[in-house]
Symmetry: C2
Subunit: 224 residues, 2 copies
DNA sequence: TAATTATTTTAGATTCGCCTAAAATATTAT
DNA sequence: ATAATATTTTAGGCGAATCTAAAATAATTA
């Protein structure tokens, strides 16, 4: 059951995992776009992963991860998010700076390292972007959250996650002083451009774009 | 000046660095042996590194690192030893378990990561095996130390470093309760097999082999 | 349904790191 | 100095991961 995969193979497996979270069945072009490579390269890799029983693949039909594939993907996601947590909490990185570094660290193979790191960090449940960290067995906390655009006006909510790790998004959030845990109330929705007027604690209300609202996930907070 | 080297290239550069510490001029076969590869592969890589001005190489003449090459090597050694320190001091690894993991971690490219890690560890000067950690500028503490075989009898000394990171050596040292910092006195040298009778604090004297003695480096301690 | 367009796969090359076998060069022994 | 041996380099090839261009298949549109 011990995998011994190349960094490239691991990156493909993780990409397929993330794509099938939203899409179900994954396509060649989606993977190519996500990994900044070409469709032909993806097909080559799919044949390899299929031969290793990591992916269920039939020509022209799309594909999904096998059970083994999903386990591997979860172990990579686990490492990625644990390292991100380490970078932010222990090394004082900004939450907008950690993704690229974790992209490398997630490929360090030592199992012992992951478990010791997890213990050192005291078994965190969420990474700095609000995404759940799988445990040793691949289990993670399900956080019931909704998109900010689906939050009704006047209800207090708390930011739980962001929809992407792009520098651009995180830069904007930093400027607007919005982070994981920030309390938010929707004041008004504008139908013209789907922009939303929101209010944070101890701050004047301001308006954010539809794009930004869609990138924010929240959970409703008991209005104490 | 930014390098962007493959992991393989980095491993060659580090190997050449270590070999030239003892040998001065380095040979193809030495590198091949250290990296468990073949002489022909080393020649291929030397051409590449020569083209990048990382090594001074002339056919059949042996080679050394260029100034650039040395800088690169030092930055890899710095990362390797910082990570080893991290693994032992923060994650509670044994000193005999960290070398292989650091062999991977040393290739993580983020400069910011190294500096933040160094700060987090409070700028350690030596790794768990007693080897000095280069600072950002490649400078490291010179520790005047001698081989245990050169220590005169009856002089109190302290173990400062070990000559290799092999599991076999570290296992033996653990069993004999010898570590970095351990105080040692030589009781007697046996000419027949160059074995040495030594005594540690609060322990009965025992004899160690020539091979083991050669793997230990010490500094003389003011006999308070 | 048939034609057009989009997607996916194959074919054929390229680069990197590695190998074995043979040739070139250097070293050592006679 | 010449021969034998050791070391290093070259020649030629292989697998992994990538690419472009062309062919195969699927999906969409007319
Ligand atoms: Mn990655
Ligand atoms: Mn994250
Ligand atoms: Mn290495
Ligand atoms: Mn070390």
């Amino acid at each position: 059951m011990i995998a011994n995969l190349s960094i490239t193979e691991e990156n493909y497996i993780k990409a397929i995992y993330h794509l099938q979270q939203t899409d179900g069945n994954v396509t060649t072009n989606e993977v190519a776009e996500m990994l900044h490579t070409k469709a032909a390269s993806v097909t080559d890799m799919l044949k390899k992963l299929n031969a290793k029983n990591i992916v269920n693949y039939a020509k022209y039909q799309g594909f999904t991860l096998s059970d083994d594939g999903r386990k591997i993907a979860l172990s990579i996601v686990r490492k990625h998010r644990l390292w991100e947590y380490f970078l932010v909490e222990k090394l004082q990185f900004g939450w907008d700076e950690v993704h690229e570094v974790a992209e490398e660290l997630e490929h360090i193979s030592s199992l012992k390292l992951v478990e010791k790191l997890d213990a050192f960090l005291e078994y965190p449940k969420f990474d700095p972007h609000g995404d759940p960290i799988p445990d040793v067995n691949g289990k993670m906390v399900y956080q019931p959250q909704i998109n900010l655009t689906d939050l009704p006006p006047s209800e207090l909510a708390e930011v739980t996650a962001v929809g992407s790790q792009s520098t651009e998004l995180l830069e904007l959030l930093k400027h607007k002083k919005i982070a994981i845990g920030t309390k938010i109330i929707i004041k008004k929705k504008f139908l013209f451009d789907n922009s939303i007027e929101i209010k944070l604690q101890n701050q004047a209300a301001f308006t954010i774009s539809q794009q930004l609202a869609q990138a924010l996930f929240v959970k409703k907070t008991p209005n104490e």
